[in-house]
Structures are given as C-alpha cells and as structure tokens.
C-alpha cells in the first residue's frame, strides 16, 4: 500500500483534475469569461480522452479494490468520448435564458457521473462498485431536473431518483445476502464461495435489479421513457448512451468474473429478459409520437440487443458488446444531436413535426437517417456490423432461437425507425420546420458521428483492437 497505487488510477485522476479545473473556473471565472465554458470543457475533456486513449496494462491497486483492465480502459475512452460529443451538443441548450447562469454545473455534474462510471468499470470490490454506481446515478437525477422551471423535468427527475433508489435498495439487499453467504465482497473471492444455494440465487436475483435498472431492462425499465421524455435532451442523450453503456459493460464484467459459477442461472434470466426487453420495448415504440420518448423505447430495445453479447459469456460477446456500445453511442448521439438542435430551434419534438424535414434541412435529415439506419442495423452503416457481431456471439453458444427472436424484432424496430425516415423524406408538411444552420459544435459532433457510422463498420481495425483485449468466462 502506498501512494504509488494512485498511479494506476491515472484515468480517474485526470478526470478528477478536469472536474476540479472546471469547478474552479465556474466558481471564480468572470461572467464574461464563462462564455468560453463550452470550448474549455470540450478541450479539457478531449485532452483527457486523448491522454488516456491507449490502453494501459492490467493492474490491481488498493489491495484489490481497484482493478484496471485494458478493455476497461477502452470502455472508459469510449464513454469519455461520448461525453465529449454530448458536451458539444449541449451548448445550444445551455445558452438558453434560464439556464445560462448554471451552465458550468452541467459540465461538472456530468463529469462526476462519468467518474462514477469509471469507478464502476474498474471496481474490484462491491463497495467500489456501489460507490461508483451511486456516483453515477445520483448526480444524474440533478441533471434530469436541470430545467427546474419545467414541471416535466422535475417529474422526470423525481421518478428517476425514486425508482433508482428503490432499485438500488433491492440491489443492496441482494448484495448483503451475497455478503452473508460468501463472507467477502472482493470480486476475486466471491466466485469461489458461490455454490448456487437458494439464498444465493435469490440474492443474485435481487442484486441484478440494480444494473437491470441502469440498463433499463424489462421489467426494470419503466422509468426510462418518462425520464427520457422529461429530461433536457442533452441529458437524455447522456443517459441513453453513456450511462447505459457503462452499465452494460459492468454487468457483463460482473457476470463473467464474479457470477461465473451461476452461469446457467443468469443465462436463463437473461434469456427471458432479452426477449421481454426487445419485444415489449418494440411494441411500445411503434405508437410513440414524442420523438424523445420514442428514442427511450428504442434504447430499451437496444439494451436488450446489447445483452445478447453478454449471454454467450464469450470473448466474442465482450468484443461485440463494447463495439456495440461504441456504435450505438455514435448512432444515438447523432440522432439526439439532431433532436436537440431541432428542439432548440423550433421547439418541436413530435415525429409529425419532422414531416418534410428533408426539404428544409437536408443535412440534418441525412444525419438522422444515417443514425436510424445504423440503429436498425442496415449495412453499410456501422450498426449492421455491431448487430451482426452481437448475434454471432450469441449464436456461437447455440442461442439460435434467441437470435432468431431478436432478429424478428429487428423487423418491428425497422418499422418504427422507418416511420421517422418516412416523416422526413416522404411525408409532406404544410408547416415544416424552417431551415436553419446549426452552430459549429453541433455540426462537428454530427459530422464525427456520421463519419463514425459510415466508417466504423468498414474499417475493421476498431473491432479488432477491442477484440485483442476481450476475454470470455
């Protein structure tokens, strides 16, 4: 034990540094200089991302509390990159009248939740994991409630925090039972003591709620649409990709590493949950009018797909999952970027409002379309590849029926994604959203997302590099 241990945590440390700098800037910066908050935050985060881009070696610190893995590094990089994109898209919203005064907080709080996710990812002990997950979720509630004069925002936040705490209560209860039966909370020690006794199985079921909630798997998903709809769009974007992505990875890591002895059980659980999640979310999504709510259901169903990478318990699945998260992040952020800017410029958030968008805003429509096709898994866009790898991972373990059901669901999902494409490209509108030019940040972020969507699949190096660090059970 020594301070040298901290060196293993360079990512967390650099993130903390960013947070502290921004916090100080927010507190002490003059009103005038605060205009540059967005560029400063973006640059700092970019620097942070770049510095930590290369995966470092595997390391264990603090007596096993902290466990750094290369794949974890990659996930962290992906998440911070996603956060960067969110920051770039959030500028517009933060400039609005009632919020501008609090704009600094947004960056700081968001980065705090990111820090929480880092902890989750690198946790080697359930306490670490617990702190991480709470750090990731409690500040999120404040983000959801950011538009505090808007009742929907507050309501969404209330639903979020109450459900979150309830879920984490159940989860902790499960955890306490696990502790009671195994006598340890170290990830390395628990598996040896897991013998599949009834109490442990029950404990596992309860524990599962916490991550299921974060991932918004059915039946722990019901907060998702409400929160997504009520939250500010940038926050929704953040919730739907970063928060979800981290939870997915952590869940996978836990299941692979800690709950490996219970593999039969959790595969069965996931089997049912995946089917339920994908199907139910799709059924709900068909009918949605509010585009944010629509994307909430879409993201629930995507979570179901993500779980396909977990269920196989193989390295292929881990690579697929991380890759999926990356692609999903880019696609979803592209979509939310468009939604955000459209909402900001015209105040319109229903699908019908997007009628005839192509005629007035062709570029935004194309970006949106790319995002939707990618989400639906249409080649040559990246989404196709990520879906394929996920399916391949599940199929490798013989889950053909599950893959088949998931694939049938892609038809439904294609239907509702095409609804938006149809609105933008085919439908005519009497009062279309007027044409506008977006700000530079949004444009850059959308460009980055589009390029990612177009190139990630075709350039196989990303997938292969992730694959190099993946591991199975």
């Amino acid at each position: 034990m020594g301070y040298a241990n901290f060196l293993y945590m360079k990512e967390e440390l650099s993130l903390v540094a960013v947070i502290v700098i921004l916090l100080l800037y927010d507190i002490f910066g003059s009103q005038k200089s605060l205009r540059y908050f967005q560029p400063v935050a973006c640059v700092l985060l970019l620097v942070h991302t770049l510095v930590n881009l290369l995966p470092s070696g595997e390391a264990v610190a603090f007596g096993g509390m902290y466990h750094n893995t290369p794949i974890g590094n990659i996930v962290k990089s992906i998440l911070s990159f996603g956060t960067l994109l969110v920051f770039m898209q959030a500028g517009n919203w933060l400039q609005s009248e009632k919020i501008i005064i609090r704009r600094g907080e947004f960056y700081v709080v968001t980065l705090s939740t990111l820090l929480g996710m880092y902890f989750m990812i690198s946790a080697g002990h359930f306490l670490m994991y617990f702190i991480g997950i709470e750090l990731a979720s409690i500040p999120t509630a404040t983000l959801v409630a950011y538009d505090k004069y808007r009742n929907k925002s507050a309501e969404a936040a209330a639903k979020y925090i109450l459900s979150a705490v309830f879920a984490s209560g159940l989860s902790l209860y499960g955890l306490s039972l696990i502790y009671g039966t195994t006598g340890s909370l170290y990830f390395t020690d628990v598996p040896a003591k897991l013998d599949g006794s009834p109490i442990q199985l029950m404990a596992f079921a309860f524990f599962f709620v916490g991550l299921g909630f974060k991932l918004s798997l059915v039946p722990f998903h019901q907060w998702t649409p409400d929160t997504y709809e009520g939250a500010p769009t940038s926050v929704t974007a953040y919730l739907s990709v970063i928060s979800k992505g981290s939870a997915a990875f952590v869940l996978m890591a836990l299941l692979f590493k800690v709950f490996a002895p219970l593999v039969k059980e959790w595969q069965a659980i996931l089997y049912g949950i995946i089917i339920l999640t994908i199907t139910l979310a799709n059924i709900f999504a068909i009918r949605q009018q509010n585009i944010k709510r629509f994307f909430a259901y879409s993201s629930i169903s995507q979570a179901g797909y993500i779980m396909l990478g977990v269920i196989g318990g193989n390295a292929l699945g881990m690579t697929g999952l991380v890759y999926y998260v990356l692609v999903y992040m880019l696609s979803n952020l592209a979509a939310f970027g468009v939604i955000s800017i459209v909402e900001h410029r015209s105040g319109k958030v229903t699908i019908d409002d997007y009628n005839g968008l192509y005629a007035t805003n062709p570029r935004l429509s194309v970006v949106m379309m790319l995002a939707l096709f990618s989400l639906a898994g249409i080649p040559p866009f990246a989404g196709f590849f990520s879906k394929f790898f996920i399916f391949a991972a599940a199929a490798e373990q013989g889950f053909y029926v599950l893959v088949f059901i998931a694939l049938l669901n892609t038809i439904i999902s294609l239907y509702y994604y095409l609804r938006i494409v149809k609105a933008m490209f085919i439908n005519k509108s009497d009062a279309p959203i007027a044409g506008f030019t977006s700000d530079a940040y949004t444009r850059v972020s959308l460009l980055v997302c589009s390029l990612g969507i177009l190139l990630l699949g075709i350039a196989s190096c990303v997938y292969e590099n992730i694959g190099r660090f993946s591991f199975g059970m």
């Binding site: 292929l316 690579t319 096709f373 249409i378 080649p379 040559p380 196709f384 394929f388 790898f389 399916f391 391949a392 199929a395 490798e396 053909y400 893959v403 088949f404 694939l407 049938l408 892609t410 038809i411 294609l414 239907y415 095409l418 494409v421 149809k422 490209f425 085919i426 196989s460 997938y463 292969e464 694959g467």
Partner: protein, 500 residues
C-alpha cells in the same frame, strides 16, 4: 486492382460523384450516371469475354478472378471475391439492367440526384452480392440492396407507395432475419474441430462438416430467407404491391435483378452448402414453388393493373426459378439460371414499357386503356415482344429457360416430381392467357379514352433502353448454347456436392 472489385467501386464512385454535384444541375447528374452505367456495362461485357478466354485457356478453377483480403480477422471474415460462369452472367444481367434503368429514369419529376444516389447504392449491393464468396460480405451486400428500395418507392413511387414500401422492406428484412440465423449456423459449423471457422463459401463446401441434423434446421431458414426475395409462395405478397408502386427503373432493377438475388442465394448458399438437407427437404419447397408457379399465373389473370399483372407474372416465373433449382440436377439448374437471366431482362423490359405507357396515359388500369397500338406503335410492338418472351416464344429468352427447366425437371422420375413438373408446365398456358389478355385489352381494339389519341411515341432514351433489352432477350433466345455451356460448367461443383 481486381476486376471484380471494380463492380463495386464504379457504382460507389458514381455515388460519390453524385454527392458532389448540385441537385439542380441535371445535365451534370445525367453525365455522371450515364458514364457510370456505361462503364459498368462495358466492364460486365469485358468480364464475360475475359472469363470465356480464361476458360478457353484451360483455367478450370471453380472460381476465377479471385481476390481475398482479410477484413475481420477475429471472425475470419474476408472480403473475398470470385466468379464462376453463373455469377458472371448475373453480373452482366445486372449491368444491362442498371444501364437501361438509368436511361429509363432519364427524367424524374423531382430530386433526380437523390434518386440516382439511392439507385446506385442499390446497385452497389447487387453487384457486391454477385461477386462475393464470403458469406458475411454477401449478406452485407444483400442487405445493402434492400434498404434503398424503401426510399426509392416511398419517395418516387406512385399509388399506395408508403404502404407498399414499408411492406416490401419489412418482409424482405424478415427474410434476411431468417437468413442471418442460417448464415450464423453455417458459419459456426463451417469447419471441423481444430481448424478455424470460415465464411468462405468454397472452403465451407470443401469441408462440409455440418451434421445433417443441423442442416435440417438451417437449410429451410436459409432457403426461405433467400426465397422471400425470390417471391417464394406464401412470402411473395410484397412483390405485387412493391412493384406496382415503385418507379419504373426501380421496378426494373428490383424485379429484374434483386429477385434474382434470392434464386442465386438459394442455390449458392442453401443448396451448395447444405446438400444433404437439400435433398431431404426439397419436396417441401417443390410443393411451395410449384404452387407459386401456377398460383402467380392464375392471380395474374384477373388483375387489372399492368404492374400487378407483371408482378404476379414475376411470382410465377421466379417460382419456376426456385422450382428448377430444387430439382437438383444439372439441366434443371441450368434452366433456373437461364430463367433468371431471361426473367430479369423480360420483366425489366415490361416494367420499362409500363412506366413509359403510364408516363403518357397516367393510368395503369387496363380497363381505362385500349387500342394504344395505333397511337404508340413502337411501345406497343415492344410490349408485344415482351409478352411473347414472357409466354415462352421460341427465339426469345423465355423459351430456352422454360424448356431447360421442364426437361430437367422431367429427369426426376418419381411420381411426385412428375406431377409437380406437369403442374409447372401448365403455367405456359396460363401465362399465355394473361399475357394475351393484357395485350388484347391494352394495345388492340378501339381507343377507349379520347385523350390517348394525342399520345406520342417513345423518345430516344426510352427507345434506347428498350432496344438494348430486346436485343439481349433475342440474343439469349437465338443463341443459347454458349450460355448454357457456361452455366453447366459452373454447376459441376454444386452437383458434386449434391452427389456427396
């Protein structure tokens, strides 16, 4: 650079060129697409010549012009291309249809640039599919070809276009969902223990380690998956609505080439890689396709919309393709490939003509038209030729194909095959009935609508595309021998698989 990759590269470059030019600069757009289409056609013809030269030079490899680049190393996915005689012919067919389709859509009412962008994306998929030897790449191109259809129909279509576009897209995606499961199944049983899994079709065929019990599952999945696109009964209903609503060139490309992806895939993937199950289960699909053949023809008899008639006719003809493939012998399979070529050209010609007629009369209902032969003799005559090709007139392509299919199917001696062969044969009569009905109502008789008296006959670009197609149809019909030789040679590996 591999010659085959050019087939993907040229449409992609065309697409990029289109992206760069201004939407209102019609002239520039046309220059780009005409160049792209011509290059493709030249390339395809060049490929055919090169292929024949190679074969004449004694190169007996199963696949020629192969190129291979590792793409996704962990899954052993390659970008792997190569052609045998069948894919060469399919490429030629596609090039012809893309070429003529380009000219058939010389004038679009709006958003010409976007139209061609989607159109060429579609053709990227088509060409890519036919050159691929890797299951994954193949599947990817397959899906690339599906999705532009949605917008092409939805934006530029007519009638119930949104419904039709959605239905078509969803049903075809349904098919590809089945297909993907099949492909994954094949992939994970592609190599024996110890050797790495592969997506390469020829390698999988060589190792053939998939146990029959599993083939029994994955063969139907794969076959139906491709079959949906090949208008396999009862998964064909996207076809009438889709084709009826699509703009001219899209119907041409879709019915002419895309439906062939189905047949080609059934044969190249389902049967080639899972021969035991194909033998065992072919009877189920023979029933379905046999029904398809007759059913489509009967349905066509009562339709009143020109495009519906042709779409049902496609169901019938494509049914024959699959039917022939399932006979699992050389003659019938040769017939199947010929039928693919023939139907592709024929139906493209039909749709081109229907589009041109519709562009003039603004109706496709045969009850509202009549006596058009008098006012638009060129189009009328071409329509008659297309019709005759469709009902299997010797000297045009349809006859050659159908006869090969029937003779081939008759080589299977058991009563079951016999009965279904004879059922399929009856389609030649029914086909005659609906073709002549249309020709009679549409072209002959008196003019029904006075406005039609002022119609003008085809203009140069229309004539051009129609003539190219007719020449191709007559070419196959008059000199089929070299085609069938090329096809038969290429079938040998498949037959070797089938005979275990």
């Amino acid at each position: 650079m591999n010659i085959l990759s050019l087939f993907v590269l040229i449409p992609v470059l065309t697409l990029c060129g289109l992206l760069l030019c201004k939407g209102d600069n019609i002239r520039q757009i046309r220059t780009i697409v005409a160049t792209g289409a011509s290059l493709l056609l030249v390339l395809a013809v060049g490929l055919v010549i090169a292929f024949l030269n190679e074969r004449a030079g004694g190169n007996n490899a199963d696949m020629l012009f192969t190129a291979n680049a590792v793409w996704y190393e962990p899954l052993n996915i390659h970008y792997s291309v190569g052609v045998d005689g069948i894919s060469v012919l399919m490429l030629l067919l596609s090039a012809i249809i893309v070429f003529t389709g380009t000219f058939a859509s010389w004038k679009m009412p709006f958003q010409q640039k976007e139209y061609f962008i989607w159109f060429y994306l579609l053709s990227v998929g088509v060409f890519g599919f036919f050159i691929s030897l890797d299951l994954f790449t193949m599947f990817m191109f397959y899906e690339v070809a599906l999705i532009p259809m949605y917008l092409l129909i939805g934006v530029w279509g007519s009638g119930k276009k949104e419904y039709a576009a959605m239905k078509l897209t969803l049903m075809l995606m349904g098919g590809s969902a089945l297909l993907l499961v099949g492909i994954l199944g094949i992939y994970f049983h592609s190599a024996g223990a110890g050797s790495p899994l592969t997506m390469n079709i020829t390698e999988i065929a060589k190792s053939s380690v998939m146990p029959v019990e599993l083939q029994r599952w994955f063969f139907p999945l794969t076959f139906i998956g491709f079959g949906v696109l090949g208008a396999l009964f009862p998964f064909h209903t996207w076809s009438p609505d889709g084709h009826a609503s699509a703009p001219t060139a899209v119907s041409m490309l879709h019915a002419g080439v895309l439906m062939k992806l189905g047949g080609y895939g059934c044969f190249r993937v389902a049967i080639f890689l899972m021969p035991e199950a194909a033998r065992e289960l072919s009877w189920i699909f023979i029933i379905l396709t046999g029904v398809s053949v007759v059913y489509g023809a009967y349905s066509a008899i009562v339709q009143t919309d020109l495009k519906y008639i042709n779409a049902y006719s496609s169901v019938s003809h494509c049914g024959l393709v699959l039917f022939a493939i399932l006979m699992l012998n050389q003659t019938a399979m040769t017939g199947a490939v010929l039928q693919m070529l023939s139907h592709g050209l024929m139906t493209a010609l039909f749709f081109a003509l229907i589009g041109m007629i519709y562009g003039r009369t603004h109706t496709r209902d045969i009850r509202e038209m009549g006596g058009l032969m008098k006012v638009i003799p060129f189009l009328g005559a071409c329509y008659v030729i297309a019709g005759l090709a469709s009902l299997g007139l010797p000297g045009l392509s349809g006859f050659v194909a159908e006869m090969s299919v029937f003779v081939g199917a008759f080589q299977e001696t058991d009563t079951f095959h016999r009965i279904f062969t004879i059922i399929a044969c009856t389609s030649i009569v029914i086909t005659a009935v609906y073709i002549l009905r249309v020709v009679g109502k549409l072209l002959y008789g008196g003019i029904v609508n006075e406005h039609h008296l002022e119609l003008t006959d085809a203009v140069w670009y229309e004539r051009f595309s129609v003539i190219v197609l007719i020449v191709a149809i007559a070419g196959i019909g008059l000199a089929p021998l070299w085609l069938s030789n090329v096809i038969q040679d290429s079938l040998v590996p498949v037959l070797n698989q089938l005979n275990f």
